[in-house]
Structures are given as C-alpha cells and as structure tokens.
Symmetry: C2
Subunit: 314 residues, 2 copies
C-alpha cells in the first residue's frame, strides 16, 4: 500500500507506519511517476491532484484540517473515495483563541493597543468603560464540538451562551440553541457574535449587509470559521458605520489577507493569520486520527472515525 504524505510526519510516526507491514510512505516531493499507484493520501496539495487524476487505487484521503471545503468532494463521491477530517482536535485551541479575542475587547486591551501607537495613556478614559464577561451574551453560529468548546469556556466566565444551528437541537454548554432564522434576531441583541460554521453553499456570505443591518447592540464580530462565510465589504462597512463595535478575524475571503486590505489599518479589529486551530502538538494529534483510520482501512477497507459526509460537505 502506497501512502502519499503531504502533511508532516515525525520520525517516530514514520516508524509506526513502517511497522504496519506492507506500507510505503512517499513524500509529496518524491512522487515522481508513482501518482497512479497511490492508495491513500495524508494531507492535501498539488501532488494530490495528479493522484486523483491518475490513480484508480485511491480509496482514502485523510485531510489534516477540520473544514474540507477546499477539496473536490463531488469527485471523491463519484470515485467512492472515503474522506476523513481531523475534526475534534481544534476545540481547545479555537476555544482559547475566541476567549482571548473576547477578553481583549472586554478588558480594554484592544483599545490600549490602538492608543499605544501615540504612547497615549488612556486609563482615565476607559477604566469605567471596560467590562467583565459576567452576564454578557455571546451568540455562536455553529454548535458542533468547537462551538460547544467555546460555550464551555464562556460558561466559566458567567456568559449567557446562545447557539445557532440548522436544526436548533440543544447542545452541551449552550443556554439555548435556535435555528438559523432566529439566529440573526439573537445576534442583534448580543455582545459578541462568533462564526464557526463550515463553509457550504448555504453559509457562503451568510454574514452580509442584511445581517449586519439588523445588529442593534453593536456586537463584536468574531470569525474563526471560514473566510467566505463573510461578505468582507459588508463587514468593513458595518465597522465603519459602527453597526459593529469591532471584529476579530482569523480567516478571510482571500488568504493570505492582501497587503492592501483596509482591515490591516482599522482600529478595533484584531487580525490573526489563520492560526486559531494551531498548536504545537497539532501534527501528533492529526496523526493519531490518521493512524486509527489507516489501521482500520487496511483491515476492512473502511475508516473508523471522522468520515466526512461528501454530500453535506462536513
């Protein structure tokens, strides 16, 4: 069995794969004429495309991300290729990132950063303006395990957590969950609005002028989901017109965020370079999922965990 590796593999993990017996790992830069013989792909990238075009043996792709919107899902479905994501390992890092954003706004750190450029001490101006999270309301679009992880952390700070999902079913750590339609009504009254929805046809430009126009309470908008769920021009307008008090953005319609984007220079906007799910042990955590799936795949031809529904897209 030939595995095309397009992510990262420690020496220890390469040894673990070798110990499985009939397994050969080929790194992306050494694919050469092997594209037609690949059975499994770990990660994704240019070399994967030639495998997809040439190999009839490809039956399992293990992505190294949670979102899989960048993959040719229809082609996977047509060719009966099983796809797994690494959903589950992002809850802790993304939850912590969202708490960092929210606390930075609540506690005046973002305001202090802006004043700092002028060496400006604004204690007396903001000391009575800043606030604690107690009894604040955060509306989270997406109630999967990451959304639940965010809600769990927020509950430790006395926050009211409202989830929004297609089905509106109750989920752990949410005070209540509503459906998409009611979500905007809830967001309108919230202190913070968080997007962690997957990108699908339905969520593309979900956060558009119509959405921002309904905000009543000047929330801070946080995107740790996918960039194209947001209409960037509408977001910038909503910030300019103070429909939003601020934004914290980890993902963007175009990544890297173009150097000419006005977002870079806007006050009350935190920009991070698509890192919210990252952490030092990510490679090992992703490998653990891949290894579990690979061993099952070798034995049974199916995968054990994290299989993506290729029609739903997540």
């Amino acid at each position: 069995m030939k595995i095309l590796n397009l992510f990262e593999l420690s020496a220890q993990n390469r040894a673990k794969l070798a110990a499985l017996g009939d397994v050969e790992v080929i790194d992306g830069d050494k694919l050469g004429g092997n594209a037609k013989n690949i059975d499994v792909i770990y990660g994704w990238g240019k070399p994967a495309e030639s495998v997809l075009a040439q190999s009839n043996k490809l039956k399992f792709v293990q992505s190294n991300s949670a979102g899989v919107d960048y993959l040719p899902l229809a082609e996977f479905k047509a060719k009966q290729i099983s796809l797994a994501n690494v959903s589950g390992i992002h809850a802790e890092p993304i939850s912590e990132m969202v708490l960092a954003y929210i606390l930075s706004f609540a506690r005046g750190i973002e305001a202090s950063h802006a004043a700092r450029r002028e060496h400006n001490w604004i204690g007396d101006q903001i000391r009575n303006q800043i606030y604690t999270l107690t009894n604040r309301t955060v509306v989270i679009f997406g109630t999967g395990h990451i959304g639940q992880g965010i809600a769990e952390k927020l509950k430790a700070f006395g926050v009211t957590t409202i989830g929004v999902s297609r089905h509106g079913r109750p989920a752990a750590h949410f005070d209540r969950v509503v459906t998409d339609k009611s979500g905007t009504v809830e967001a309108a009254k919230a202190d913070f609005v968080v997007n962690i929805m997957p990108l699908t046809a339905e969520t593309r430009h979900f956060f558009n002028p119509a959405f921002f126009d309904q905000m009543e309470n000047q929330p801070v908008f946080i995107n740790v989901g996918r960039g194209p769920s947001v209409d960037t021009k509408a977001l910038i307008d909503a910030l300019d017109t103070h429909q939003l008090a601020g934004a914290a953005l980890d993902v963007f319609e175009n990544e890297p965020l173009e150097a000419t984007s006005p977002l870079w220079e806007m006050d009350n906007v935190i920009i991070t370079p698509h890192i919210s799910g990252g952490f030092r042990e990510y490679g090992q955590a992703a490998f653990n999922i891949f290894y579990k799936n690979l061993t099952t795949f070798i034995q049974t031809g199916t995968i054990a965990i994290n299989q993506v529904n290729l029609s739903a897209g997540y």
Copy 2:
C-alpha cells in the same frame, strides 16, 4: 455627620446616604472651610490631606481601591482612624485581564500584532509555535482573593497553578502554595509568572535582577499588582536578553507611564493603563462596601468589613 466624597456617587446612592438621617455629603470641590468638621472620607485625593491635617473628628476612611500603599497609614494609626479598602470587587475583572494576557501570548495574538505593522501574514511561521494552556504552569505571587480568582479561571483551562505567599498556606484553586523563598524556584520553571502582591517594604523591587537572572524557562511576566514591586530597568534588561519571553504590564513604577519609556516600543510587551481592576459597575460595587461600613460606623463607631491592618499595610 459630614462625609467628604472624593470618588463617585450616583444620584441613587446620594439618596441612600441622605435617607440615613444625620448625614451630609460634601464633594471635594465644595470642601471650603469644612475640612475641620469632616467625620468620614470616601475615596482619597488632595482635599483629604487638609482634612487629615485639620479635623479631629475624622474616624473612618473608605478607600475606593484595594491597595492602600498611597495612604498615610502611620498617621491613620496614630490618630486611630479606621481604614477600609474595597478588596473583593477586583477578583473578577483582574482575573479576566490576566486570562486575556496569557491567552494573547499563548495563541499568537501578541505575535500577530507585532507583524501587523508591516501587514505581514505570519501564519506559516507561528501556527506550530503557538500553544494551548493545557498543562502549562502559572506561578502567582499573591494568594489572596484576587490570586485565587486568577487561579480559578486558569483551572478551567487545565493549567497547573502554583501560589506564592509569605506563609505558604494552601489556598483555593491552587495546586500548591509555597513560601516566598521557594517562589523564585517555582517561577524559574514556569510558563507565566503573575504578580498580584500588595506593595509593602518587603515587596518593593521584589522582581529585580537577581529574580530575573534565575528564570530558566523564558516565562512571560505579568504585573497586575503594583508598579514599584518591579525594578523596571531590570525588567527591560530581562526582556532584551530574552530571560523573559514577554511581559504584560498594567502597573508601572511611574504612572502614567512616561511617553519616553522604551516599554512602549517593545515587541512582546502588552501595556494597559492601570485598568485591570476596572469595570462599568465599579462605582456601585465600591459604594455597596462603603454603605455597609457606614451604617455600622453610625451605629457602633466601628466598621463591618474590609478593615485594613494599618501595620501590615493591607
């Protein structure tokens, strides 16, 4: 009974004081010739000094801060003036501030801010460098209610919490508490070091070259206690020589921080303008303590809660 008000009083709270009967509230700017007739001071400032010099009736001062190092404690003691602080209302806002600082460093927000000046997208450089708080170690100097509040929040993130106090007695939410001497040894191995000690003769310049020289693990240093507990020059040297990975500072030896301070321009340093204890409802929370003490003082001549030990200084 005449009360000199040097803090803030809402109309509602003024009415509550008036309802106590023989109570007259005099605001600082209307003190005039009344200095010698003042019985009680709420807050502190210039007019209080003339009261202290002239009034034999002054028997109770309710400060509007937790730390009281800026007050003439020896004179209070000699004149048998009872002093109360508002300790207890800062735990939530300061805990949230410390979590914001720590998460900003852990999750790469501080690094992203530094890169942002150049519109620089550093995702690939830092995504695998950043980390979650799980199993990190935070050493907190000061195990009173604020220290405990910080530790409580950190436990929600899976952090190992080590407290340092003079007595070394166990305290809530700390995995363990050690005495001053062992504190430096613990700090040397920590990921974050937090100061929330009161300022006393013993804590002045506690964080000095000898302290920073012992750091082995490049911790981030956080000061939400008092500025003079830190030797600023030693702190800057420790940052320059990478004995520290960074710092988050809310208090300074001189406040406002002078515009010429090199700290303003240093990367990996978060500066906030002495706001960590602030929040919108602070005035009401402080008044609640004052009101409780005042009613007891009127009835019995003593105060009910938050009395400062004038010899210890906190």
